[in-house]
Symmetry: C2
Subunit: 362 residues, 2 copies
């Protein structure tokens, strides 16, 4: 049994527990179906298509200005660089499992020469005392909400407020890695502007919960954004045309921004199903957004056949991969539009099957 | 009379001398019309959509491998960085009007700390003796073919061969800024692989002569390309989905790669029209690609009303802007699909009108 059989049966299942559906060309075609061919392309960051959306997103996030970037990797490195330049300190702090630390080939260090301080343990989110007990001077603190690599955990809103107040008192800029920030609002019971008001700069992904094709919004004050625009060109991100991403982001944002409560409730329901199965547990146990991680004590080689069999038997995709952990293995689940389309008996059926097979494993 | 009236009448004209037509959403919709919605997105640089096109482009350019980048700015900075790292020298040479020197907010210097040596005068292309007489050690020489900012001028093919031989003898990597390289082939009477074989790395734009939406191909040997892939991620260029650019590039490359001879011949014809008018001249006088610049001795304020009147009178767009020069002004013309759709009497008509008005100016 190989990992690819797991992926094969996942992809062949007519429905999947997680996500918005396949990332295929239909995502683009659907978004552009109702858009007139005469709509003019943006041109190197100018033009109604990009300027209107940036204005709309700045208002949505409660910031003075925003800029559309091709990627969050680019947007965030640049945000940190501008804060470093403004504060005259080439040092920032973030979580040890920050996207910038583990998924970007050290772009922040290699391109910008910025040093990083890793706060908190890998297993938990950054708390107030991690910040207040920091000895070294930093230009900026980055908080990722939710902390994706540990299943999408969140600090309390009170902690966010306290960290924000501390940073303002100490001249530390606070940046929000909010790739999935919309997905956190139902748990916080706060508006997007209430959350963003705690931060000096905010990044929001266009293709996570929103389900667009690609792209990112970076928002902040006018002066800050003007600086980021120069770096956007330096990075090679000031494309002649970003409209394929912008117009699809606009479409899917309108479609999904108010469904986050639904995804969140479904995540709670689905995590409970996983936790009810023999030998499976989720982190967090009760999700605080639309996402969680599923953990097993056994090695991938033992778990994959069980998942493969169950998803094939019920024609319902559970996961296409397993990540080996120090002990056992895991996979990630992010709820989207798909879950509510699946009959409850089918959902119950796949977990009965999984539970049965996991029990016979021991 | 303002510049914007010039632009207005240009945009309102039902036909335009230059280009492939407006850069609007129809460019995307046309390209995707025949593409099935089930085609899977690429994913962070993997998947058939991107891998197949990269393979196809590597073969097309006669190189071992190629990578699709969101922009040429990103592709070229990275190419130079990798050559610098490989040669252990953080210095490159290029033309004083290279895209990297004047249009990228100094990304090469600011992000990569690479020093640049400017070869040749601004008014002419780099010749062999500019290269052989260089005192300083450099990792890489970048040649832009055609040299866009001086109207698309070209060195002779023999010069290219001699520069290439010199670089190989002296351990200098030779990089081709070939944003518009396909447009040069009819003049050189060479195949694309013959030209590319002189260079260690090659960049080709997907939206100049090809007329795609955005994006760039960088090609070279396997080891070099593997390094550039790491930097692509660092720059924030490894997008989850590049297929909107890739699939449209594929469509328009197939459609236009064999029309370059036609664009070239039209450029020669159209430049002759401009040169036949009072007070107008083109650089080069006889184009060597699909492009040239039109120069006037008078200031933009004097020329704009004449162009505005003529393009309105004939309902034929000549230019939407004028760039002020030290003496007089200029604009750029790049021939594409539009020119052959215009009746010969209309073309002759607009130049008669221009000639008449220019004569009455003096």
């Amino acid at each position: 049994m190989t990992k690819s059989e797991l992926l094969e049966t996942y992809e062949e299942s007519s429905q999947q527990l997680a996500g918005h559906g396949w990332r295929n060309v239909a995502v683009l075609k659907d978004a552009f179906e109702s858009i007139d061919g005469d709509v003019k392309s943006d041109k190197y960051g100018s033009g109604a298509v990009i300027e209107d959306f940036q204005q709309q997103m700045a208002e949505f996030l409660g910031k003075e200005a925003s800029i559309f970037f091709p990627s969050g990797t680019m947007a965030q490195q640049i945000a940190l660089r501008v804060w470093c330049d403004q504060n005259g300190v080439k040092k920032v702090a973030y979580h040890p499992l920050s996207h910038l630390e583990i998924h970007e080939e050290d772009g922040l260090k290699e391109l910008h020469g910025i040093e990083t301080i890793l706060l908190a343990d890998k297993e938990r989110v950054i708390e107030l005392e991690d910040v207040t007990s920091m000895d070294e001077e930093i230009a900026c603190l980055l908080l990722e909400l939710p902390q994706r690599e540990i299943g999408g955990q969140l600090p309390s809103f009170e902690t966010l407020q306290a960290i924000s107040a501390h940073c303002r008192q100490n001249g530390i800029k606070l940046h929000l890695d909010g790739a999935r920030i919309l997905e956190c609002l139902p748990y916080y019971k706060k508006s997007i502007t209430e959350v963003c008001s705690l931060f000096d700069s905010v990044y929001l992904s266009m293709y996570k919960g929103i389900g667009g094709i690609a792209g990112a919004i970076l928002a902040g004050d006018q002066e800050f954004m003007a600086q980021t625009k120069i770096w956007k060109k330096r990075h090679g991100g000031d494309l002649i045309s970003l409209y394929p991403y912008i117009l699809s982001a606009e479409t899917y944002l309108a479609q999904r921004k108010d469904r986050m409560e639904e995804y969140y409730q479904h995540a709670i329901e689905l995590a409970a199903y996983f936790n009810s199965c023999e030998g499976m547990s989720t982190i967090p146990e009760v999700p605080v957004s639309n996402m969680f991680h599923v953990h097993f004590q056994e090695a991938p080689e033992k778990i994959a056949p069980i998942l493969t069999e169950a998803q094939q038997y019920m024609d319902l995709g559970v996961t296409g991969y397993l990540k080996a952990e120090q002990i056992g293995c895991s996979f990630e689940v992010s709820l989207g539009d798909q879950y509510k389309l699946i009959s409850r008996s089918k959902v119950a059926g796949v977990f009965e099957r999984l539970d049965e097979k996991m029990k016979s494993l021991n």
